[in-house]
């Protein structure tokens, strides 16, 4: 029996896990899953970390996949992730004492965007360890492994983030934290 490859498919509703055969084309897999791109939409394979390797470039170099190629040739056993119905690039703006912009691949995960932003703002990795990205306007905090393509609303091409310090939960006082009743003054 032919082996199957477990693939994480993004861009057609909620992310899903699908199984593909090494010898089938990506078009065939996407067709089976009802996830073929429409005119002007693209498909990316894998995850892009271009921004870490080349932080000063204006854009990622990650290019769309040829969906007529087989899963084996596209090395999906190694890459695992497929992003369908994607834009070629997503413009990302990050603000923190100013702003930096870059055109990212839709397959870039938030962890990569965060690392890129810290490099561009010249933030020391240790002192900046508590800095995270929050997505505007709602200030939600995406997971580090979420991809930019998953954060776009329909028709949106630009994502804006603030780089902020992660909230450090604090108790009102040590008595509350210790689960005691605070002493009262007589």
């Amino acid at each position: 029996m032919e082996n199957t490859i477990e693939i994480f498919l993004h861009g057609a509703g909620r992310p899903q896990v699908v199984e593909g055969r090494p010898a089938e084309t990506l078009r065939n897999l996407l067709g089976r899953c009802g996830a073929l791109p429409e005119a002007g939409q693209m498909v990316f394979v894998g995850e892009s970390d271009d921004a870490i390797r080349n932080p000063d470039a204006e854009a990622d170099a990650h290019e769309p996949a040829d969906i007529e190629m087989t899963l084996e040739v596209l090395e999906l056993l190694r890459h695992r992730h497929v992003h369908t119905r994607a834009h070629h690039r997503i413009e990302v703006i990050v603000r923190y004492n100013g702003e930096h912009k870059r055109r990212f691949s839709p397959a870039a995960p938030i962890a990569v965007v965060t690392a890129w932003a810290k490099k561009r703002f010249g933030i020391d990795p240790t002192t900046g360890a508590d800095l995270i990205l929050v997505l505007l306007p709602g200030k939600t905090q995406p997971r580090p492994d979420e991809h930019l393509s998953e954060l776009l609303r329909p028709g949106q091409h630009v994502l804006e983030f603030d780089l902020v310090a992660e909230v450090k939960p604090q108790g009102w006082n040590l008595h509350a934290d210790l689960g005691r009743t605070a002493p009262t003054r007589g």
Partner: protein
């Protein structure tokens, strides 16, 4: 005894891409399959960035009673001794960092038995101000164990983590 609704919900969440993608990257794994006999306890490994004299992964025991209407509580665990990991072997963070804060093992009601974070059921108790302080981390039934697990993974793999 039939499997509880909570266990069924968890098993569905563990079959979702968010959990499986972390599993395929090696970020986390189940120590052993979720079992009715051990419920509400579930054991996971979470990978950590290598640091001198520190393990490359930590075991977390999760108490998932009432999942997921109730938030989990988790703590580092020593399987061989079937007890919480001793305080001196909990991961540490640079002073003042979020890592140091969430993994603190003193000066709160359940040191070494939970994570000092709004997602943790033990820590959330008696901290009615936390939803206002940190509205992004108010647990709802839309959250899954993976949301909490990915935070623990991030803390163990950021520059502020200095080993144990």
């Amino acid at each position: 005894m039939p499997i509880s609704a909570a266990q069924r919900l968890l098993e569905a969440d563990l079959a979702r891409p968010e959990f499986l993608a972390g599993l395929s990257r090696g970020d986390w794994s189940l120590v052993r399959p979720v079992s009715e006999a051990e419920w509400p306890y579930v054991y996971t490994w979470v990978r950590a960035t290598p640091r001198p004299k520190s393990p490359d992964q930590y075991m977390v025991r999760w108490n998932l009673e009432g999942y997921n209407a109730q938030s989990p509580t988790g703590a580092f665990w020593e399987l061989s001794a079937t007890t919480f990991l001793p305080a001196d072997r909990w991961p540490k963070g640079t002073p003042g960092s979020v890592v140091a804060n969430v993994f603190k093992v003193s000066e709160w009601a359940h040191p070494g038995e939970g994570f000092y974070h709004p997602y943790d059921r033990l820590a959330r108790h008696r901290h009615d101000q936390w939803p206002e302080q940190d509205p992004q981390h108010v647990w709802t039934n839309q959250h899954t164990l993976t949301d909490f697990l990915s935070l623990v993974h991030r803390w163990l793999n950021c520059e502020a983590y200095i080993g144990c």
